[in-house]
């Protein structure tokens, strides 16, 4: 069953590469799609992309490790991203991060044992008017307090 669904994912990845005419220039765009499909970028996927775009694997690996958006380890079901931009910092984002670390019992970049949450930090999500903010997946939560942040997590449990 698992290999079957995985085959489908690889086929989808192939069609993404075909869409970009297998051009090496499209590497970052293809990696985005790959991460979207597989949830993260394991070795096999990177090798597959390298072959597909006719790039050395070292080049692919170099790009993946340069950009903070890409991850080669599995993430939790939800990504909690605490904004540490200037406006959020001025309004106490550090405290929200500290509280979430404690609540989830993880450090930045780590995933909870139940694989539900990955805690990460963002440089600025551009919602400075609502500082301090955090994003859970694609949703922005503004004007947070440490308590509110913990309460928000409950929606995703």
């Amino acid at each position: 069953m698992e290999t079957c669904t995985e085959n489908v994912l690889y086929q989808q990845l192939d069609s993404v590469m075909a869409h970009y005419n297998r051009s090496p220039d499209a590497l970052i765009q293809v990696l985005h799609q790959g991460q979207e499909l597989f949830g993260y970028l394991p070795d096999e996927v990177l090798r597959h992309i390298a072959r597909g775009l006719r790039l050395p694997i070292s080049k692919v690996y170099g790009v993946v490790t340069f950009y903070s958006f890409f991850t080669t380890v599995p993430r939790g079901k939800h990504t909690v991203m605490v904004c540490l931009g200037t406006a959020c910092y001025v309004k106490g984002a550090e405290r929200i991060l500290a509280r979430l670390k404690k609540e989830l019992n993880v450090d930045l970049g780590q995933t909870t044992r139940d694989h539900l949450f990955t805690l990460s930090a963002a440089r600025c999500v551009g919602a400075c008017g609502l500082a301090p903010v955090a994003m859970i997946d694609d949703d922005v939560y503004g004007k947070l307090t440490p308590d509110k942040a913990v309460k928000t997590l409950k929606k995703y449990r």
Binding site: F66, S68, A87, V90, C124, C128, G129
Partner: protein, 598 residues
């Protein structure tokens, strides 16, 4: 199209969506239907109105009544009052900060009526997902006129007359740049839009792409015409999913309508645009790094010259401007360069959008003529610093910029004046700080950002920023000596002079500018081992004023380290200073002011 007696503009910018404006829209539509008003009142979902902290926001036309913080539960009553009884629903109006009077319309609200909107003229007014609304506001007319009636030289001449300077940070004259690309030899040329808005604290580019994407597409096509390029790329950061979605949709609609693609307006000019999504690297906002990233490579800058205007994307001449710069183009073409040049100051023309945030009453996007004073922005538009605190400094230009202290509140906000006081306009982030902000900690915050975002290519930036951070860390921990301050200054100068790209060259700015205006604060940290703003954890301690403590136990229950204990036989609590991690939770939760920071 049926004639509506009233239109409700519902802000669906990123901020309002996160405050829950979409359920408000559903409730509104359901309620209008239930009251048989659906044929009379139309709901339009717009881009960012600008007043982000008041969301969800509704503006009801034709009266321009401005409702704030609307919840779905408010909607039945609002419809009842406003649309059936024909009177303003007072409970959801904004209150004036000075007089406590209710403000009924957008026009009366100082936050809006002091602004001059050019870049943001359509944001919050049209539905960004519907090209017809953009066209109805005169959209793509400028492109059509330029292609059928004008020459590339004319476009560049107008742009030069307008005096427009790049809004991404460096402020290079746009007309000159366009001219360089036009004159650069080469068959194939490219137009690139930098939407990698990485400066923490700036979000105008996001709002333009979310609220008025066609304006950017049209300007890029005009740029393509002027520079004889036939392909454009918009490089958007991955942190902006909504902007990416709306821009993609806009490109699709423009292609279908014939505003992008082959032989535009039945001419020989063809132009198309693709999106490239970034992947979370601040340095990609630097133009040569951005180009490397579009080519699918690590975003590492290269020395200039050659400038992208000569050798850019795939070695071809490339015109790069940022979103806000492109957003100025259509009005300049339509109303003329002279008109644009009549706004602003002698050397800084037009308007600038600032992203106002931090310790300020009204946060959000404000667009003002260049040369408007900081005081006007902070007090008239921003409504001042809340909670009875005092203005301490404004930080402009993010990690490349500096701080403007209270003594310079009357400074005109333009390129030259800000440079004189050691700051920059930059991308337009404007963070207000009050007495509770420690300036050494602020400098440390920005330096940490730069150490993390340095791409690692050149040692001055890679190693230098880390060393500067280390010194600042020592200072905030009370472990520094006075010699460290001299070393800090020396290092800052070295990194500034010898770094390869803008990131490293400007990274020391926040340190230098805080040293310039708040040297005393540095000295207090070093000599007295004291943080006057009571921010740096190593230099403060928390205690409980037993006279004020009511014994409610709230602090003890919230303490993450369980360091607060009950004093035997008394209804009082005490903090164990040896185990306190100084997180400040007790200070925040105490309702009696019994927790003291010293």
């Amino acid at each position: 199209m049926p004639a509506y007696r009233s239109t409700v503009l519902l802000c669906a910018g990123g901020g309002c969506i996160s405050c829950g404006c979409l359920p408000v829209r559903e409730a509104m539509e359901a309620e209008l239907k239930r009251r048989n008003l659906a044929d009379e009142v139309r709901v339009v979902q717009t881009g960012c109105v600008g007043s982000c902290d008041l969301g969800p926001v509704l503006i009801v036309y034709p009266d321009e009544v401005f409702y704030q913080k609307v919840s779905p539960g408010d909607v039945p009553k609002l419809v009842d009052e406003h649309f059936l009884k024909g009177r303003v629903f007072e409970r959801l109006l904004v209150k004036s900060a000075e007089t406590d009077n209710l403000i009924a319309t957008q026009r009366e609200f100082a936050f809006f009526n002091k602004q001059v909107k050019i870049v943001l003229e359509n944001c919050g007014v049209i539905d960004p997902e519907n090209i017809e609304e953009y066209v109805a506001r005169g959209g793509y007319l400028a492109l059509g006129q330029v292609i059928s009636e004008r020459t590339p030289e004319w476009v560049i001449e107008e742009l030069k007359k307008s005096g427009l300077r790049g809004r991404g940070g460096a402020g290079f004259p746009a007309g000159t740049k366009w001219d360089f690309v036009r004159k650069a030899p080469g068959e194939r040329k490219y137009v690139v839009c930098n939407a990698d808005e990485g400066d923490p604290g700036a979000f105008m580019d996001r709002s333009v792409l979310e609220g008025d994407p066609h304006r950017v597409l049209e300007a890029m096509a005009i740029a393509g015409f002027a520079a004889s390029a036939d392909q454009g790329y918009i490089y958007v950061r991955a942190e902006y999913p909504l902007a990416i979605r709306r821009t993609r949709r806009a490109i699709q609609q423009a292609r279908e309508a014939g505003f992008l693609g082959r032989n535009l307006f039945e001419s020989s000019f063809s132009f198309d645009i693709d999106i490239r999504v970034g992947a979370g690297a601040f340095v990609c906002g630097e133009e040569t790094a951005l180009l490397a990233s579009i080519e699918g490579k690590r975003g590492i800058p290269r020395p200039r010259p050659p400038f992208p205007a000569v050798s850019g994307l795939w070695g071809k001449p490339t015109l790069i401007n940022n979103v806000e710069t492109y957003a100025c183009i259509v009005p300049i073409i339509t109303r003329g360069g002279d008109w644009y040049a009549s706004i602003g100051t002698e050397k800084s023309k037009g308007t600038k959008v600032f992203a106002l945030a931090g310790k300020i009453r009204n946060t959000g996007l404000v667009e003002v003529p260049m040369g408007t004073t900081l005081r006007e922005i902070v007090y008239d538009i921003g409504g001042g610093v809340p909670n009875g605190r005092k203005f301490k400094a404004a930080q402009t230009g993010g990690p490349s910029g500096g701080c403007i202290p209270a003594e310079h509140l009357d400074i005109p906000m333009d390129y030259e004046s800000l440079a004189k006081v050691g700051s920059i306009v930059g991308s337009g982030g404007l963070i207000i700080m009050d007495e509770d902000s420690c300036m050494v900690d602020v400098a440390k915050f920005f330096m940490e950002f730069c150490t993390d975002e340095s791409c690692g290519k050149c040692p001055p930036c890679r190693v230098g920023t880390r060393q500067i951070y280390g010194l600042l860390d020592k200072i905030t921990k009370g472990e520094a000596r006075i010699e460290d301050l001299h070393l800090l200054e020396e290092l800052c100068g070295m990194v500034k002079e010898s770094s390869l790209c803008g990131l490293g060259q400007t990274a020391p700015n926040p340190v230098l500018s805080t040293l310039r205006y708040f040297r005393d604060e540095y000295l207090e940290h070093i000599v007295d081992r004291r943080c006057p703003a009571k921010v740096c954890p190593s230099l403060i301690r928390y205690s409980i004023d037993e006279a004020a403590c009511t014994g409610c136990s709230l602090c003890a229950r919230n303490c993450p380290e369980n360091t607060i204990f009950k004093v035997e036989d008394q209804k009082k609590y005490r903090i164990d200073p040896a185990r306190c991690v100084k997180c400040g939770v007790c200070f925040d939760v105490c309702r009696f002011g019994a927790v003291v920071k010293s």
